[in-house]
Symmetry: C2
Subunit: 362 residues, 2 copies
C-alpha cells in the first residue's frame, strides 16, 4: 500500500502479533519514510518490511522530482486530451490540476541509501525488478529482497537478478497492478493459476497476494504453494490503518457496485471501488501502454482533485483502492485480525485434511 | 464441457478412478445423450453427472429447435453487421454461415425427461437456475442437483430454488462463463475471493472451478471452503478426451500467447486460446448484453466455419476452449491423472499444515 495508509502503528501491531507488516515508501519523502521506520521500531521489536516503487526510467535515476514548468515538458500525445477531460473536475472541486515533474524517480537513490543504512529486514519492490547493484547493496545490509510479479516471465527476471522471494500478485488485488513494464490489464491470470504457472517457472519462495480476506483464503494459497499470504484490503478497515474514514466505510457499503481496474487516477492500472470519477473518466484516460508512460504524470495531475474530494467528505473522486473481496473487510484491531486469520486458517486446514482423507471404506 | 469433448470413455475412466466425471448435454441431441449415458454405465459402475445448458427463454420451453427460414426471424440489430464481418471467413473456408433457429431450447424438455428416466446421479446446470418443478422432478428421480454460479447473487437464487450444491466458476475457467443472464465479463471476481463471497452469502456445498490444473490447486480450493474441485482443461489433453488433436497440441504450444474471453464464436462470453478468428472478430462481435441475446444464434452462425477449420487441420478458426492454466495440461491417461492429482493434493496439504504450525519456540 502506498504511503499514508500503512501507518507505523499498523505495521507494529501486525508485527507484534506474529505477522509481517510493510511500510510503503511509494509517494513518501525520505525524511517521512525514515521517521516511519523509526516509529515502527519504537513500537515493536518485530521484523517488518518496506515496499518501494521502481521508477519507470532507472537509466536516469538522478533525482529531479521537483516540479517543473509545463513549458519544459515534452508533452505526451495523451496529455492534452486528458487535461481537457479533467477540466470539469477542476471546476467541481475548485482546484487546478497538479503539475507533473519532468522526471519523477520518487527519491529512488535517497530511499535506497536510507533503507540500507536502516538495515530494514525486508525490502520489497513493485513495478519492476531492481538492478543487481541495488539487490547486492540491500543484501550487504542484511535485508531480504522481494520482488512483485504478475507473470512467469517477470518471476524469471527477478530470480535471475538474485531476489530472495517473490510476491505473486493476482488481478484480484486492490491498488496498483505490479506489472513491469506498464501494459494493458487484459489477459491477467487469476491468482491460483498464476501461482501454478510461476511455480512451474521458478524455484523460489512465493508470497501470494490478491483478494485474500479471510483465513481460509490464506490456507488456500499456502496449499497452492505459497510460503506466505499478503493481505492489503483486509487491513484497510482496521483502526490502525491510515485509510480515510470514507474509504473504510465504502469497502462494506453495498451502494458501491464493486471494483474495476483503471488508469484514470494515476496513469497506471489500479483496482478501486467504482465511483463517479471512474465512471466519468475511465474511458477518457490514457491507455496502460501509453508512450511516454502516463504514470506518474497522471498521479500528479489528479492529486489536487483527489485531495479536495477527500477534504470535502465526498468519496466521488477519492482513490478508493480495494481488492475484489472488499465486502469482507472487518473492523477489528489489527493484532486481533491477525489472530482471527490464523485461527481461521488452522480451521480451514483441518477441514481440508479431512476432505482429502481416503473414505473409510477404501 | 459441451458435447463431444467429454466422452463416455473419459467419464467412465475418471469415475472408476474415484473422481466424478460429467457428460455434457449441451449441443447433444437426446438420442446421442442417452447413448452416452448408457455407454458410461457399460464401462463403469461409478457415479457420474450430466451438465445441462439452461435455455435463455424458459417461458417458452416448447422445443422448436429445427432451423427456420431467415425471413421468419425478427432480426436482432447486431445480426446484419456480424454476418457482414463473417463474410471473409465464409470465403476463406468455402462455407456459408449457419442458420439460427427461431427458438433454440437445445431439446430442454426431452433432455430433462431423459435424465429423470435414466436416474442420473448428478445433474448440473449452466447459464441459469432451473425452475423449481425441474429441481423437484430430478430430486424425485434421486438426482443430486447442482447449479453453476459466478456471483453471490446467483448463488442465492440457486439455493432459494432448492439446489443441492453449487459449482462456483471463477473467471479463470475455460469455455463459457456460466453467468445468468448474459452480461459483460467486466467486474468478474477471481475464484478465491468469489468462493469467500459465496460462502458469506449461502450455506451449501460448493464445488470450485476455474484454472485448476494440479493437485496443489485442488487442495487450495478445498482449504478455501469448497467440498470438491472441478477440472476441465486439465483433462482436455488426456487420450480419452474428445478434443481435436490440434486443440490438445495448442494447449501447451508456446506459439499461443494465452487466453481471452470473447463472444465471437457463440454470442456468449467464453474463454479460448487466442487465435486468428478471435483477433479478427472479437471487436466486431455482438456484446455480451446484446438484446435479443446473441447466444445461441452466433453459435449456429459460426458452426460451419469452425467445422471447416477443424476439418482443414487449421486451428485459426477452431474453438480452442482453454482455462488460464492451460500450459500445465498433461498428456496422461485420465485415471492416472486422477491419481496424480490426488497425490499432489495430499502433498500440498502436508506442506500447508507444516507452514501453518506454530514455530517450535512459540
Amino acid at each position: 500500500m502506498a504511503g499514508g495508509v500503512s501507518t507505523p502503528a499498523l505495521v507494529a501491531a501486525v508485527g507484534s502479533a506474529g505477522a509481517l507488516g510493510f511500510l510503503a515508501a511509494g509517494y513518501r519523502d525520505p525524511d517521512g519514510l525514515r521517521a516511519d521506520i523509526r516509529e515502527v521500531r519504537a513500537q515493536s521489536a518485530a521484523p517488518f518490511g518496506v515496499n518501494v516503487f521502481v521508477p519507470a526510467d532507472l537509466t536516469d535515476a538522478t533525482d529531479r522530482s521537483e516540479p517543473t514548468e509545463p513549458a519544459r515538458l515534452a508533452e505526451p500525445a495523451w496529455l492534452g486530451g486528458y487535461r481537457a477531460a479533467l477540466a470539469a473536475e477542476e471546476r467541481r472541486y475548485g482546484v487546478s490540476l497538479g503539475t507533473p515533474p519532468a522526471i519523477d524517480t520518487d527519491h529512488w537513490d535517497e530511499k535506497l541509501a536510507l533503507l540500507a543504512e536502516e538495515r530494514v529486514p525486508v525490502v520489497s519492490f513493485t513495478f519492476g525488478c531492481p538492478p543487481g547493484a541495488v539487490v547486492d547493496r540491500l543484501h550487504a545490509a542484511g535485508s531480504c529482497v522481494v520482488g512483485t510479479v504478475t507473470s512467469g516471465r517477470e518471476a524469471r527476471v527477478c530470480v535471475d537478478a538474485g531476489l530472495d522471494a517473490l510476491c505473486v500478485q493476482g488481478p484480484e488485488a486492490g491498488g496498483h497492478r505490479g506489472s513491469f513494464p506498464p501494459r494493458p490489464p487484459a489477459g491477467e491470470v487469476g491468482l491460483l493459476p498464476l501461482l501454478a504457472l510461476v511455480r512451474d517457472e521458478v524455484d523460489v519462495d512465493l508470497i501470494a497476494a490478491g483478494g485474500l480476506m479471510d483465513g481460509a483464503s490464506v490456507a488456500a494459497v499456502l496449499a497452492a504453494g505459497a510460503c506466505a499470504a499478503q493481505l492489503g484490503t483486509a487491513f484497510l478497515g482496521t483502526p490502525e490503518s491510515g485509510a480515510h474514514a470514507l474509504h473504510k466505510a465504502a469497502l462494506v457499503d453495498p451502494a458501491f457496485p464493486g471494483t474495476t481496474v483503471t488508469t484514470a487516477f494515476t496513469g497506471r492500472p489500479a483496482r478501486y471501488l467504482v465511483n463517479r470519477f471512474i465512471e466519468t473518466l475511465d474511458a477518457l484516460a490514457p491507455p496502460a501502454d501509453a508512450r511516454p508512460p502516463a504514470y506518474p504524470a497522471v498521479h500528479h495531475l489528479t492529486l489536487p482533485i483527489r485531495r479536495a474530494s477527500a477534504a470535502a467528505g465526498d468519496p466521488d473522486a477519492m482513490t478508493l483502492f480495494a481488492g475484489q473481496g472488499h465486502r469482507l473487510a472487518r473492523d477489528l484491531p489489527a493484532a486481533r485480525l491477525v489472530e482471527v486469520l490464523a485461527a481461521e486458517a488452522a480451521q480451514a486446514a483441518a477441514v481440508m485434511t479431512r476432505r482429502l482423507a481416503p473414505p473409510a471404506d477404501a
